[in-house]
Amino acid sequence: MDSKFKQLVIDNSDSIVQKWMEEIGSLKSGNYTATISDELYEGTNREFVNVIFTSIRNQGSTKAVEDFSEKIINLGWPLSYITDGLQVFRRVSTEYLLTQSDEMDSTYFSNVLTSVDNWVEPLIRELVNEYSGSWEHILSLQRVALQELSAPLIPVMEGITIMPLIGTIDTERAKLIMENLLEGAIKHNSEVVLIDITGVPVVDTMVAHHIIQAAEAVRLIGSTCILVGIRPEIAQTIVNLGIDLSNFPTKSSLKKGFTKALEITGRHVVDIEVKENNIEQLIKSIQGE
């Protein structure tokens, strides 16, 4: 029975595809795909229906399914495009098969339904799995990328290291900050570590607690930790929270913190005036004579 239905659908694929394309086309307006160009929409629909028919013809052609769901993700189309498309296919082919026969008893009816379900269901499962699998893959890649960015250490000069923090700090990131800070301070042999919180939107008790612990740990390995980039509003909220930062050095800006770090490491910045004087003299001497 099933193979008979299958042959019928394959033999009449033209009229089924046409009906399917019409229905899918009407879904476009006022829907998620409203902003997509007509050519792209139609082209993709054609590809979609080809994938469906390939899959019905020889069950197990996963390559086409894989490629197609990847394409939908790259286009940024929602999962509902896939599920809608298959629902419409289910309806269109069921309707077609029912009109092809004069027998209208319930056995025939249920045979048609079972057959169509058998073709469509594995395809739904496969496409949805592929689609969500790709998303999970993208997500895990981004998580790794984000983690690499989340607590960077920059050894700016012999003995001085900076950790610029940008964005929200959750517990996972707070732990990473602590680890990287200690590891980095030892690796770069840093006398001074500057933690820059200019880019941290909110410093609550959890963030403050982790920063205090990190600074304490840095102190234990014999280095100094300076907290810099404390915006005025953050300074106020820290005071309101009653958090005591008097035990470790803070500076309002990275610039001031860096000057302090130079001081601690026994250095200071000198302007190279001599050279400029030379240039001025040179210009004068050219203009003068």
Binding site: D170, V202, D204, T205, E233, Q236, N240, L241, I243
Partner: protein, 133 residues
């Protein structure tokens, strides 16, 4: 903007969502940057306490706007274990989780009005208001 909006707290990142909504409403009400930071921090404390001690709950924001005053009211509600000794929990440095114990007393100082109700086994309800000056 809705006069009242709520954020469910189930996972850690919901704290960020609550904070952003609180800050956004504070900005629209005309609070300055310092008060915006105070409000965002208070939300963060209450939301984190829900996440840590009650696992889940809700933070609701309400705009108060009448002839007498304008302000932002936040309510943190959970059906967690409750707090046995409220005056102890309100003390600076009291913590059961190895934290700083600065959250609750901090929120009281960050905001203008503060009201806490808690029943063992029933849950905790904290209401705090900041007035626009």
């Amino acid at each position: 903007m809705e006069p009242q909006s709520c954020v469910n707290i189930h996972k850690e990142w919901d704290i960020v969502g609550a904070r952003q909504l609180g800050r956004e409403m504070a900005k629209k009400l005309g609070f300055g940057t310092v008060d915006q930071a105070r409000i965002a921090t208070a939300v963060s404390e209450l939301a984190r306490n829900i996440y840590l001690y009650a696992e889940k709950g809700q933070i609701c924001f309400e705009i108060i706007d009448n002839i007498e005053h304008r302000g932002l009211c936040m309510t943190a509600v959970d059906s967690g274990p409750g707090i046995s000794d409220i005056s102890q929990a309100m003390q600076d440095g009291y913590t059961t989780s190895g934290g700083l114990g600065a959250g609750l007393p901090g929120v009281k100082r960050l905001m203008d009005e503060f009201d806490i109700n808690s029943e063992i086994g029933e849950g905790t309800r904290i209401k705090a208001i900041k007035w626009v000056r």
